[in-house]
């Protein structure tokens, strides 16, 4: 029955707020699915949405009552023209003041109990045995994603199975970042020298967007994050592919040379090759990712070439330097990286 009410309320909110908002705000291009905290698709986000509705309704109630009285007062008690007397002077009233002190206290007690319960329910939820563990490391300005159990290292694009809890261990390599995928979970900071955890339990497959939400420097705005909620089969296949070492395709050996001869290899790791840098994202399966530069641009050969030529063009403030490669080298290295499926 409550869920009924909740659903109803939610329908109203979604209908009024979002259906009006989303299409209108589709600015120039189609709106991607994505970051609406009122469309939760995962356990903690859903529970937070419930709390949000409760708090929102109570606050709306307070606003309507207090705002309404104020509106009434300023209309009703206007000074009429020609009225030259002072109104009766009232200095206070113990009873009235008592009432409007106590009622808010009661409301606060309710709000507090609801929040406190959810804090513990989310923060202290024990990790179930059958869950995925991910270590997520925030870097200026990208995400390092590790699946310790599967021995996978990747970047910026996280794959998780649907209907299964995933637990994140959040770290930072430099400054404070914050992990936020609104439709899956609230945010938790990635802090150097400090380990945080958070978890999600997605209920729907699909792509969910997120974004670093603690200011971390010039590239902060482009520190995006993508979470793919896969069916179990898709997830398994993805894991399988990621676990393989990098593809060795003799056709692109020239590009491999360029990569290894330049400083690329000092910053990037490609498993199965001498490149073992840790400063930048792991490129072992770069071509299997949909985007470059932590969600900045789509991963197309053209974009990739442009990225290597001048990363700053797509992502001002990026910590990867433009490597001053000539056109030939660019083509070669692009071809090589494109082969890393």
């Amino acid at each position: 029955m409550f869920t009924g009410i909740c659903k109803e309320l939610r329908r109203i909110f979604v209908a009024v707020g979002m259906t009006a908002a989303v299409p209108l705000s589709a600015w120039a291009e189609g709106v991607q699915p994505g970051t609406n905290m009122f469309e939760p698709a995962s356990k903690p986000a859903g529970e937070i949405f419930g709390l949000a509705l409760l708090v929102l309704s109570i606050c709306a109630g307070i606003f309507i009552v207090v705002g309404g009285m104020l509106l009434y007062a300023i209309i009703r008690y206007r000074r009429k023209p020609g009225d030259t007397s002072e109104p009766p002077q009232v200095f206070g009233s113990l009873q009235i003041e008592m009432a409007w002190t106590v009622v808010p206290i009661l409301i606060v007690v309710v709000l507090f109990l609801a929040s406190a319960r959810l804090i513990f329910a989310i923060q202290d939820a024990p990790q179930p045995k059958k869950s995925i563990s991910i270590t997520l490391v925030g870097h200026q300005f990208w995400w390092e994603v590790r699946y310790p159990k599967y021995g996978i290292v990747t970047a910026n694009e996280i794959h998780v199975p649907v209907d299964k809890a995933t637990y994140f261990k959040l770290l930072s390599a430099d400054v404070v970042h914050s992990f936020w995928v609104p439709e899956l979970a609230g945010k938790t900071d990635c802090i150097p020298n400090h380990v945080n955890t958070t978890w999600i339990l997605p209920r729907k497959t699909g792509l969910y967007l997120g974004q670093c939400s603690q200011f971390c420097g010039a590239g902060h705005a482009r520190m995006l994050l993508r979470v793919y909620v896969d069916t179990p089969a898709q997830f398994k296949a993805w894991i399988k592919n990621q676990q393989k070492p990098a593809v060795e395709d003799p056709a692109v050996a020239a590009g491999r040379e360029v990569f290894m001869d330049n400083a690329c290899m000092d910053c990037h790791e490609i498993r199965g090759t001498p490149a073992n840098g840790r400063f930048g994202p792991d490129l072992t399966h770069l071509a299997s990712r949909d985007t470059l530069g932590s969600g900045t641009v789509l991963n197309t050969p053209a974009n990739l070439r442009e990225w290597i030529k001048d990363p700053d063009h797509f992502k001002p403030g990026v910590l990867m330097p433009a490597m001053q490669l000539n056109n030939k080298q660019l083509d070669e290295v692009t071809a090589y990286l494109c082969s890393l499926r």
């Binding site: 189609g30 008690y77 200095f91 959810l118 804090i119 020298n193």
Partner: protein
């Protein structure tokens, strides 16, 4: 019937102001060497107004940059400097000085004193504030930074470590930020000490603490907050400078230092700071609303108790800015309840203003219009604050545009609105001229519309997942339209502010003569000439109630009989 001993004794209208002949240079020099609380008050306010324009200009550029997705008007580095300087300017160089300035002018008059307790310290405090602000802005031109565009601070107004450490901010930016704020901090500390001492030791005869006008009361509370909170920031910035200049490790995460410690230190200061800005606005409202409702303030003792209560509570809620840093469950719960409890004394205040209006005869002069809008907007801003205080929801809302909307609703919708109200209300006292009412109403409506266009619509992208501090976003996120509306609103606000500036200039030259008491008000500052003489009152006034001028005006019905 009429009592023979009048409640207010020697308030005296004095001789004509002697108008000594001065050259322009002498006149100018006097502003630099003055120790008169009124002149210093004016200096504070004018200085702050200039920075309101500058900070507003920065906001306009921010809004222009965000108006459409993938905009390239400014580079991310410049954008980062813009919002950092905007926040820092508005809070430290505009907000605090303008409120301290109003207090400087009004408090001694309201308590019937000749001057502040320490007039020279007062001058010193102002100049520290002024030079600190100038030093902060010198960062735009002084020295070469990382990107060769000056070294204006670019890490947000809360300057989270370790982004400010030498490794991540190799330029001079954090140094300008820290040093300028330390300098200004001394100014604020001096002002706090001065206001506390003034209110505690300089009240005229008969003005017991429970008869003090509410603005003065709130400035007393605010001064205590300043005296306690500002040194906390100074200490944290001192540690930052130790780290940067002599190799300390306070916030050096490589050497075991803690980023979270900085957050705690900043917000231990930062939360009281927002009440330092809000409480004077409450005080202004508590002066203006009764006068224009023609009624005594409802529940004066409760108002005082609530202010003191907010003051105390404000030191116990700082970590609500840190719900996402991974504090333990009990800690989070504690800060939830503490933050929500602030709503109770604050609610008492809102209800008391409402009850003051209730049954009154409202006179919709410009100050009152701003005050009514203030109550509405503060109500909304407070309620969104309560939403943020519900920690789990804050895990979603934190650092989103919802937060930006929350605090602008209070910082602009409440504080700036009340500052404007105060300008219209006390301008006649300060200059002897009325501000033009028609321009005033135009200013009000424009600013109201602009404000709501900008900040109402900011909540929505917040809910839709738009984080703050981003210099741009992609079209596909669906935030574009909201941001466009906000930008339009910001420009409407800018026009409104220009109307105010125009109004001030016009009214100074040819405004209506104000007389001593244009609003038919009740506190002591209206019992002297406009503008008041250097010594405020020729004879020390004596009061018998909270509304000394009411007693004079209604001898058959004085307050003191009741109180």
């Amino acid at each position: 019937m009429a009592d023979q001993t009048l409640p207010i004794g020697g308030v005296v209208d004095v001789t004509e102001l002697k108008a000594p002949k001065q050259t322009f240079l002498e006149w100018l020099a006097e502003w630099f060497i003055t120790v008169d609380h009124k002149k210093l008050g004016i200096l504070y306010v004018v200085y702050a107004m200039v920075f309101l324009l500058i900070g507003g200009l920065e906001a306009l550029v921010i809004r222009l940059q965000l108006a459409i997705p993938n905009n390239h008007l400014v580079s991310p580095q410049i954008y980062d400097e813009l919002f950092t300087m905007h926040g820092t300017t508005m809070v430290f160089i505009m907000g605090m000085p303008i409120l301290v300035g109003l207090a400087n002018y009004i408090v001694p008059l309201q308590i019937g004193a000749r001057d502040m307790a320490f007039p020279r310290l007062n001058a010193f405090s102002f100049w520290m504030t002024a030079f600190g602000g100038l030093l902060m802005y010198y960062s735009y031109i002084g020295g070469f930074g990382l990107y060769g565009v000056g070294t204006a601070p670019d890490f947000g107004w809360f300057a989270y470590a370790p982004l400010t450490s030498p490794a991540f901010s190799p330029g001079r930016a954090p140094d300008y930020w820290a040093v300028a704020l330390i300098v200004m901090g001394w100014g604020s500390l001096g002002a706090g000490v001065n206001i506390i001492t003034t209110t505690l030791t300089m009240r005229c005869k008969g003005m017991t603490l429970m008869r003090m006008p509410l603005f003065t009361w709130l400035m007393l509370v605010v001064s205590f907050l300043m005296v306690i909170a500002i040194p906390c920031l100074t200490a944290a910035q001192g540690m930052l400078m130790i780290d940067r200049y002599i190799g300390g490790h306070f916030f050096d995460t490589q050497a075991g230092g803690s980023a979270i410690l900085w957050m705690h230190f900043f917000w231990i200061f930062g939360h009281p700071e927002v009440y330092i800005l809000a409480l004077p606005a409450f005080g202004l409202a508590s002066e203006i609303i009764p006068v224009f409702s023609r009624k005594a303030i409802f529940g004066y003792p409760a108002m005082v108790a609530a202010s003191v209560g907010i003051g105390f509570l404000s030191f116990g809620v700082w970590a609500h800015h840190m719900f996402t840093v991974g504090m333990s469950g009990p800690t989070n719960t504690f800060f939830v309840i503490a933050s929500m409890l602030v709503g109770i004394p604050t609610g008492i205040k809102i209800f008391n203003w409402l009850a003051t209006i209730w049954g009154g005869k409202i006179w919709f002069a410009t100050p009152m219009l701003f005050s009514i809008a203030f109550i509405f907007q503060f109500l909304v801003g407070g309620l969104t604050g309560v939403m943020l205080a519900a920690a789990p929801w804050d895990w979603q809302l934190h650092n989103s545009y919802f937060v930006v909307a929350h605090f602008h609703y209070i910082l602009v919708g409440a504080i700036v609105f009340m500052v404007f109200a105060a300008i219209y209300y006390w301008f006649p006292k300060v200059t002897g001229k009325m501000l033009d009412e028609r321009l005033g109403k135009l200013h009000f409506w424009l600013f109201l519309i602009g404000f709501h266009l900008t900040f109402d619509f900011m909540h929505i992208p917040g809910i839709l997942g738009m984080p703050r501090h981003i210099y741009t976003y992609m079209p596909s996120r669906g935030w574009g339209m909201w941001n466009m509306i906000e930008t339009v609103g910001a420009f409407v606000q800018a026009i409104a502010v220009l109307v105010l500036v125009f109004n001030i200039i016009v009214s100074l030259r040819s405004g209506k003569e104000a007389g001593n008491d244009p609003w038919d008000a009740w506190t002591l500052e209206w019992a002297t000439t406009s503008p008041p003489p250097a010594y405020n009152f020729a004879v020390d006034p004596v009061v018998k109630s909270r509304r000394p001028l009411w007693d004079l005006k209604h001898p058959e019905d004085p307050d003191w009989k009741y109180e």
